[in-house]
């Protein structure tokens, strides 16, 4: 009889790309839930919409590229991209924002670069940056967290706000303070500081509670928890997250020590905006990160530094997307210069 011929090894660990992605997605859900608690149903709707668009786009592109559609959909990478983008954009942004963003992420950033594994940039972040530049108003109009808002959008209001933009008065859901609309605490801080207020004065605003951003703190905590679970499950490795958080902590620490009046505290930075989301879910995207352990520490630290620099000195309130993209650009370089020392060799390269 003929026997089957295969190449060693004949056993493999039952880890699948899909499993890894599923775990990441599951671990992001607590954060999403907390986000919904504070900012209404908007985020969930955005996420679902994004996932639907992503799956359709992925299937269409795979069909065009004459690849197996099922395999691509089954690896959950498109779902994860959509999830991250849906989480990142303002909950009540009009529907076409997320649709355009998702299409851009899947079709251009991912597939035009050769598909999963070949894309240079993190698709979700690239799309986010595109949206931020193309639709600055929609992309910076964040809903006020529930405790601070006069009205909290319910499900119906969220749906109508998203799908029939302009039908309701979005300003209802915004936090009106001194006639200005505030987006996120980071934005508030930035604007406040630029108006000559000290950070303490800014933190005295109703968006903040004991120096922390209302809502955002818990959202970040949820993502941190999800990230720790991922670490425990082995879905991600510690280097990138640690590198990023440590760098951000150190940078903001130095800034805060130098001049507490014009700089946010390290804790403020670590638990504001998308810090934790980025540290555990975005920067850790393996495709676009550096590959060696040391390289990943450097990669993470680079993001941390960039986040701080852009937040503190740049023109945009939150910097995660830009920082991640810039670090993506550097990843091949880092990989080239930071190689582990092979057994029996003296040095790395």
């Amino acid at each position: 009889m003929a026997f089957k011929i295969t190449s060693s090894p004949h056993v493999t660990k039952n880890s699948q790309t899909a499993t890894v992605m599923q775990r990441v997605i599951l671990c992001a859900l607590p954060g999403l839930v907390v986000q919904c608690v504070y900012f209404g149903w908007g985020s969930l709707i955005q996420v679902l919409l994004a996932i639907a668009v992503a799956l359709v786009a992925e299937a269409a592109v795979m069909k065009l590229r004459k690849r197996a559609v099922g395999v691509a959909l089954g690896d959950y990478s498109a779902v994860l991209t959509a999830l991250l983008l849906g989480i990142a954009i303002p909950p009540l942004a009009p529907w076409w924002v997320i649709v355009i963003g998702t299409l851009f992420a899947i079709v251009v950033v991912k597939h035009l670069y050769g598909g999963l594994g070949n894309n240079l940039f993190n698709p979700a972040m690239a799309a986010y940056v595109l949206l931020l530049i193309a639709y600055p108003v929609q992309m910076t109009t964040w809903v006020a967290p529930a405790p601070a808002a006069q009205y909290s959008p319910d499900l119906l209001a969220s749906i109508s706000q998203i799908f029939l933009p302009g039908s309701g008065d979005i300003n209802l859901f915004r936090l009106g303070i001194d006639g200005t609309t505030m987006a996120t605490p980071l934005d508030t801080m930035k604007t406040g500081l630029s108006m000559g207020l000290t950070s303490t004065e800014v933190l005295a605003k109703p968006l903040f509670d004991e120096g922390l951003s209302i809502g955002w703190f818990w959202v970040n905590m949820a993502y941190l928890a999800g990230g720790l679970v991922m670490l425990k499950l082995g879905a991600i490795r510690w280097q990138i997250s640690t590198g990023m958080l440590a760098a951000l902590f150190i940078c903001s620490g130095i800034g805060f020590m130098m001049n507490p009046d014009t700089h946010g505290s390290p804790v403020f930075h670590l638990f504001s905006g998308a810090t934790m989301l980025a540290a555990f879910f975005i920067a850790t995207d393996p495709v676009t990160a550096a590959t060696s352990n040391r390289g990943r520490l450097i990669f993470g630290a680079l993001i941390g530094v960039l986040v701080y620099v852009i937040r503190q000195y740049g023109g945009y309130p939150d910097a995660v997307a830009f920082a991640v993209l810039l670090a993506n650009l550097c990843a091949p370089l880092i990989d080239y210069y930071v190689r582990p020392r092979t057994y029996g060799h003296r040095s790395g390269n």
């Binding site: 009889m1 699948q16 890894v20 495709v287």
Partner: protein, 893 residues
């Protein structure tokens, strides 16, 4: 060297990177004692060394006893094989091997007689044996490494350097396999006795047994046996290492136990470390103390699809299908039969293959135990593979480069340090068969290296041959010179300058026209150089096919020519190495004008040489006027019949020009350029700058070499990856028979040849300018030589890039002119045969580069009037061909 004896003694275990923990599955087979199998009917004993290191000691039909050697060794690398049972030799023939490929290997088929009767074994005691005796007994017993690689143990026991640490590998980290485990439990004393023998031979400071912590019984058994051993106290110990695959890899085990790494490309012996497997220790003990050859070993038979998994003593040569039958094999669809473990073992395509010395396990898993054939997905760069790699490689990068065939990059990422352990494939979530990619890449790299080595060897062989031939040629030349000198005395002065003048004019014209395309771009140069190389090859062939040409060559002349051409090329290459850079710069700085001048000078010089030759030839052989005329016409249709006076004037002009050119050259190159050749006997040509001093000749050769080097380099740039190989072939002047030309290709080739000539000249000239116009003197004859006569035996390997373009057609015309010149050469060659004075001064220095000419002079005495006539006809034919080539080129256009 071993600074960490203390740590060794304390059993310190170092960390190794990577590694995995696949399901062990050892309980399947390690529960029962080692059994034996019923005798098989036939045993297949592979004798792969026969023909290389060994010869058969038995013949078909012989009756052999168990343990009787089947092979005679011829050298130290011989690993004897023995009959595993008593019986009759039924056949000695290729049979499928126990290998992933199943490729047949020479096998001795023994039909068992069922008695299993032993030969007499010579037992000995350790005290009475010298080290050499021990090693000899180990070799005689055919002991080989039993961990899988089957490296001859006697070689390991006679290392070149001191061994300070012997590691006994008892790790057995592969899942499923328990043969060492059971052997240690049941025969620990034998293993320890083997260690004693190794200790006696190598006297290492320490012997450490490394064993994984999942085999506590075996470790205990070893410790117990060790405490009862005769080994000096403190020398040996058992060190337990944590269970992790692949701790049992030689390099990994060394790292685990000593913290040291075997340098890449080195062997452990260089660290003073030697690693033996426990099974090998037991076999060494048997061999040395009992004289028992290695004819059986413990093999694990396991997996979900055998009814009685376990360990069995198996004679070497037992067929795997017999083994499985005895163990209750229950195959399923798509059954795999794996030799070795699931991580590094290989599947057998056929199971009628023998158990061999390195076989430690036969694994027949159920499909549930093995991985499903998942589809390979894209790499998501998760770097799980890099985390798992025990060699700290970056498998995803290796994969990337291996897959795209970028093997240089893969090598840059240390592909060769991959031990093919399979950890990376094991963990890859995208189910990429990484190891398979690495194997493919490694073998591709290996093949490429072998190719390189082969051509290197061919080159060396050729150079040796060339040196020999050169010596022979020198001797012949000396003889020819002597003969020519005798003839010289018969000569009287006279002038047939017309011909010479015509030649000079033609050359000058040619030089001008050749110079025109030279003004062209770099790109053209590159093409030209590539073509020149093709031409060089053709030259070799042309030289070879010269013998049937109308010139009065003798049979061995062709060979001489060939050799000469080859030598010239070889020399050129050698010189090229030194002057490559120089030549490049020079070429870039060359102006068209100066090159033209050089060219003119060279042409004139050559014309002079020819003139002399002709004159002498004509005088010596007293040709008729009509002969003279026809030669003239054949040589150059542009040249009307000239009377003596005109000719003399022309010659005078040509000489003057030549002088001027030479002076310029000399000004740049050599103050001696204008000094007439002292050895020259010919009074007319005495001021001829064409006669080079020895030193100039040398320079000229260098210049030719530079030209050649440039050509070669350009060819490489043209992306010819086979260049080395082809060059070598060209050098040895072997036409490539495998390339067959169609009629059209032949035509093309002819055109190409013509172009090539022009190009080569150009290359020579460009290169020469840095070094002196002398380059021409060298290059030109070679060019001409290599040209037309063989247009019907077109070289097969003219480059495709030589296809004519509009621009090239022009060049082809130039080539036609050259061909004409060549026709003249035919005449000249006749002449040169009579003109030793010309060749003589060049003897030592120039002869290699110009050998086609000097070769001609060698058989000077063989000339006859009739032959000269023939040569002239040949010249005419050549010219016609040249014309045709030009026309072809135009047609093409």
């Amino acid at each position: 060297m071993l600074t960490n004896l203390e740590q060794l003694d304390n059993g310190v275990v170092w960390r190794i990177p990577g590694g995995i923990h696949p399901p062990e599955q050892k309980h399947l087979s390690n529960q029962t004692a080692i059994g034996t199998l019923p005798l098989d009917e036939y045993y297949y004993v592979p004798v792969p060394q026969v023909g290389e290191q060994a010869s058969m000691a038995v013949a078909v039909g012989d009756h052999v006893l168990k343990g009787q050697p089947l092979t005679h060794g011829l050298n130290q690398h011989h690993l004897p094989v023995h009959a595993p049972t008593s019986g009759v030799i039924k056949a000695i023939e290729p049979r499928p091997s126990n290998h992933a490929s199943g490729l047949p290997v020479n096998t001795c088929v023994i039909q068992a007689d069922g008695k299993d009767s032993w030969v007499d074994l010579q037992s000995a005691s350790l005290e009475t044996l010298s080290n050499d005796d021990i090693v000899a007994r180990v070799q005689a017993a055919g002991v080989a490494g039993m961990g899988g690689a089957a490296f001859p143990s006697h070689i390991k026991l006679s290392p070149a350097s001191d061994i300070e640490l012997v590691i006994i590998n008892a790790v057995e980290c592969e899942p499923y396999i328990t043969s060492d485990d059971r052997l240690m439990r049941e025969h620990a004393d034998k293993i320890i006795s083997g260690m004693e023998i190794i200790h006696q031979v190598l006297t290492p400071q320490r012997i450490i047994v490394g064993i994984e912590d999942n085999k506590p019984e075996a470790a205990d058994a070893l410790r117990k046996a060790l405490s009862a051993s005769k080994l000096p106290a403190g020398v040996a110990r058992v060190t337990v290492v944590p269970t992790k695959y692949p701790s049992g890899g030689e390099k990994q085990l060394i790292q685990l136990l000593t913290g040291k790494e075997v340098p890449s490309g080195a062997i452990p012996a260089q660290l003073g470390i030697l690693v033996h497997n426990v099974g090998t220790c037991a076999a060494i003990s048997d061999a040395v103390l009992q004289g028992k050859p290695l004819i059986e070993r413990v093999v694990t038979v396991t997996g979900g699809n055998v009814a009685q998994p376990g360990n069995y003593w198996m004679p070497i040569g037992t067929r795997v299908d017999h083994v499985l039958k005895c163990c209750g094999f229950n195959p399923e669809a798509d059954q795999k039969v794996i030799i070795g473990g699931p991580m590094m073992g290989y599947t057998l395509p056929l199971i009628q293959v023998p158990v061999i010395k390195g076989t430690n396990c036969v694994l027949v898993p159920s499909s549930a135990e093995m991985s499903v054939d998942a589809k390979e997905l894209s790499c998501i760069r998760c770097t799980e593979c890099a985390q798992a790699c025990p060699a700290s490689l970056l498998p995803q990068q290796l994969y990337w480069h291996s897959k795209s065939g970028d093997y240089d990059k893969a090598s840059d990422y240390n592909l060769r340090d991959c031990i093919e352990c399979g950890c990376c494939s094991y963990v890859c979530p995208s189910d990429i068969p990484l190891v398979e990619y690495f194997r493919v890449a490694k073998s591709a790299i290996r093949n490429a290296n072998e190719e390189k080595l082969k051509s290197e060897r061919a080159k060396q062989k050729f150079e040796a041959k060339q040196a020999r031939l050169e010596e022979e040629k020198r001797q012949r030349e000396a003889k020819a010179k002597e003969a020519a000198e005798r003839r010289q005395s018969n000569m009287s002065g006279g002038d047939k300058d017309a011909i010479a003048a015509a030649l000079a004019r033609v050359q000058a014209k040619k030089a001008v026209s050749a110079a025109t395309p030279e003004a062209g771009a770099d790109r053209k140069d590159k093409v030209a150089d590539a073509v020149a190389r093709a031409k060089a090859r053709k030259a070799a062939q042309a030289a070879q096919s010269d013998s049937p040409a109308p010139e009065q060559n003798q049979a061995n002349d062709a060979q001489k020519d060939k050799v000469a051409a080859a030598i010239a090329r070889a020399k050129a290459r050698k010189a090229a190495m030194q002057s490559d850079n120089e030549a490049e710069v020079d070429t870039n700085q060359t102006s068209a004008a100066s090159s033209q001048k050089d060219k003119v000078a060279a042409a004139i010089a050559r014309a002079k040489a020819k003139k002399e030759a002709l004159k002498q030839a004509l005088q010596a052989e007293a040709p008729t006027d009509s002969d003279n005329k026809s030669a003239d016409e054949a040589a150059d249709t542009l040249e009307p019949k000239a009377d003596d006076r005109q000719a003399r004037i022309a010659a005078a002009v040509a000489r003057a020009k030549a002088k001027k050119a030479a002076a310029k050259d000399a000004g740049v190159n050599d103050p001696k350029g204008q000094i007439p050749e002292q050895n020259s006997v010919d009074s007319i040509a005495q001021s001829d700058p064409g006669e080079l001093s020895a030193e100039e000749a040398k320079k000229a050769r260098v210049a030719a070499a530079v030209a050649k080097a440039k050509a070669k380099k350009a060819a490489q740039q043209a992306g010819d990856s086979k260049s080395t190989v082809e060059d070598t072939q060209a050098e040895s002047a072997e036409p490539k028979p495998e390339v067959e030309l169609t009629a059209e290709e032949a035509k093309k080739a002819r055109v190409a040849a013509a172009i090539a000539k022009a190009k080569a000249k150009k290359a020579a000239q460009q290169a020469g300018e840095g070094q002196g116009s002398d380059a021409h003197m060298q290059k030109q004859p070679a060019d001409v030589n290599s040209a037309e006569p063989d247009s019907n035996s077109e070289p097969a390997d003219v480059k495709p890039e030589a296809e004519p373009s509009a621009e090239e057609a022009k060049k082809a015309r130039v080539a036609a002119a050259i061909a004409k010149a060549k026709a003249k050469k035919a005449a000249r060659q006749d002449g040169e045969a009579q003109r030793p004075d010309n060749a003589a001064p060049l003897n030592d220095e120039r002869s290699e580069a110009m050998s086609p000419d000097t070769d001609q002079s060698e058989q000077a005495p063989a000339q006859s009037a009739e032959e000269i006539k023939k040569a002239r006809i040949a010249a005419a034919i050549a010219k016609a061909k040249a014309k045709k080539a030009a026309k072809d080129a135009e047609d093409k256009e």
